[in-house]
Amino acid sequence: MTTVSGPNDDILIKAGNLRWKLGENFHDSLMESLYTEASRLADRAVTRTGAQQHFNWDRTLDQLLTGRWTGFPLMVALLMVVFWITIAGANVPSALIASLLIDTVHPMLQTFGSNIGMPWWLSGLLFDGVYLAAAWVVSVMLPPMAIFFPLFTLLEDFGYLPRVAFNLDHLFRKAGAHGKQALSMSMGYGCNAAGVIATRVIDSPRERLIAIITNNFSLCNGRWPTQILIATLYIGALAPPALGGLISASAVVAVALLGVAITFLTSWLLSRTMLKGEVSTFSLELPPYRPPQILRTLHTSLIDRTLLVLWRAVVFAVPAGAVTWLIANIPIGDQSIAQHVIALLNPFGMLVGLNGVILLAYIIAIPANEIVIPTVLMLTVLSSGAANYGEGAGVMFDLEDHRQYLAVFNAGGWTLLTAINLMLFSLLHNPCSTAIYTIYKETGSVKWTVVSTLLPIVMGLGLCFLVTQIWRLLGGAG
């Protein structure tokens, strides 16, 4: 506190009194006149020429891309093309990397370990645990991201993505969100961590938090394979073989659409409850179209997005691989830790229509959704003793054909209900640790990180519980 004393008394008192007379708008008027003066100076000094030509071309394109009848179909078509190129293009390199890292290098490492006389537990921990988890994440994650992100960045560079936000804004506005959330959602279909980073384009704090918290409801790259596999095995099998593919594809799309619906519902709820007091502003610049700079785009999207995300995923996958191997191999009494935990989780798992194996797999696989199915397979073999399959305790593996998958899953006691719940839980569970870490980095807040992590789990368990109990009430098996 300042005490007024000394020879300057009069001036200070006078200033203090004058301050009251300024009124509350004086900061505002000051700012307004500063801006006005700045723009006056700019108008005097800057001459604008030659803008007319570009301008018309832009408007024609805009009328097409944001038109009442053409905007939506073009948008859906473009996104489909991007997804198709990603899926079709990623298969071959994914298989290549997998055969290199998992089928070739992994046995080589094992041989190398036994040649130099490594104890079995050290080679198991390093090569079967740590190496395999990291290799798995790289082979499943790298190719789709290396295709999806550059394509997306090209669209962004060209100036199309802001038009998507413009087209969809009225839907998002009703949910209390920002049109640009459409972009972070689409990015989330590639990777939620990248989706969370992509929310940086949303410059309003409230809407940005909404986009961050709900990004996990976009099925990411690591979850699509799980959805497709389970839908093919259990839901497609319900239909006659000719329709199987179509039915299972529809089931996967239905889960993805459920994710979109939940995104809107959660955005609406959050903006009216927890996030009510956050600052909210809106503005959306529609920059002029320009030819994309392909080389620079490739560089930034590969370095900034793909490699950054991949590196974080590998860093988190390494301890997960070690944990997986350890709990499957360290015995307490006559069983491994994994078997004890599975037995412990099983009653709760059954209550929500899953089982102990799946819950444990989701706990171990927090670092990466990619390793959920390999972990489930390994744990199922471990706990049910389906000894024909697998590579030994703690070693993740994949299977060649669908009958083998069914054999393992059935040995684990799976039913159609388990499959449906697994698909739902795969959509609604905590973000992977890479995404959680990214959320923390982006929001800088423990509170919002915890909310983004726990909200989907609570929703997922609740939904699975409801589906299971109603299913059983109606007499369904399982």
């Binding site: 301050r19 009124g23 006005t36 413009f166 804004d169 009225h170 009430l473």
Partner: protein
Amino acid sequence: MVDPARALILAAAVSLLLVLVFWPGIGVLARWQRTRLNTRRILIEDALKHLYDYEYQQLTATHRSLAGALSISGDEAARLLEGLQSLELLRAQGEHLVLTDDGRAYALRVIRMHRLWERYLADETGVNETEWHHQAEVKEHQLTPEQADALAVRMGNPSYDPHGDPIPTATGEIPVKRGIALTKLQPYEHAEVVHIEDEPDVVYAQLVAQDIHPGIHIRMISIDKDKVQLEADGIENALAPIIAANVTVVPVDRTETIERHEATLADLPLGGSGRVVAISRACRGPQRRRMMDLGILPGTTITAEMRGIGGDPTAYMIRGATIALRMNQAKMIHIQRNEEKAG
């Protein structure tokens, strides 16, 4: 296996219980927090605020007015006043209740925190303006004077709260009340709104809805016992006298005519253009700064370019950039239509 019907019923019961406990505002937890807050200290502080408020408005506070303001019984009010007297915050002069210097200083500290917090909510959060007062009512009892000073410094030592009430300085200085009630203004007189009353809620909500904010310019058109007809920042507006009485204005000498704000940006048809006259006072804090950052300033020419698929948002050409704004924002921007280009 658990019987499904029983499991569902149990789950429903548990979720109901959770809702009853945690529901914001009416849940058991919220109620418990409220009763916990309703301590003696809060009663004392609220009583001092009431007494000071009456003194400031040159009214006479009585133990009945106190009971009314704090929603307590007459007996409780009497006991409270005794307590205040024994703390030497108050002395009675016959029927009159007069604050001691200590009492006045204490009241001003509480008021300072209340108004600072309202200023903070208005400028730096997205909290709705009808909520400011209620949140500040709680916060004023929680902040320490040091926290209040830190907050004031961070906001650049604001001198008025968003309703136009002066914020007492840390040393407890506050200017004398200024202005007259809007209903005292004569036709054709000009005035600036300096204060609007934030209680009761109904009146305040009405004023907010009619776009009456501190800082706007008023020109009285006519006034009778049923209706006050006026021009607020260039827009014609009518208020009930009972509502208008809650607005304080300072008459200003104004001979030149105020620019009429006949339309808002939301009224522009596609292809039409207009010149910005002002940004509404209802748009404040980060919202207002964003608009200015975009170059939306008095004098800027804006053209409506394209409309979103659902009729909202609309893209405008502002200083050579295409920027989409939502309908509720466009309504905040007062413009004058450029007739020759509209169409």
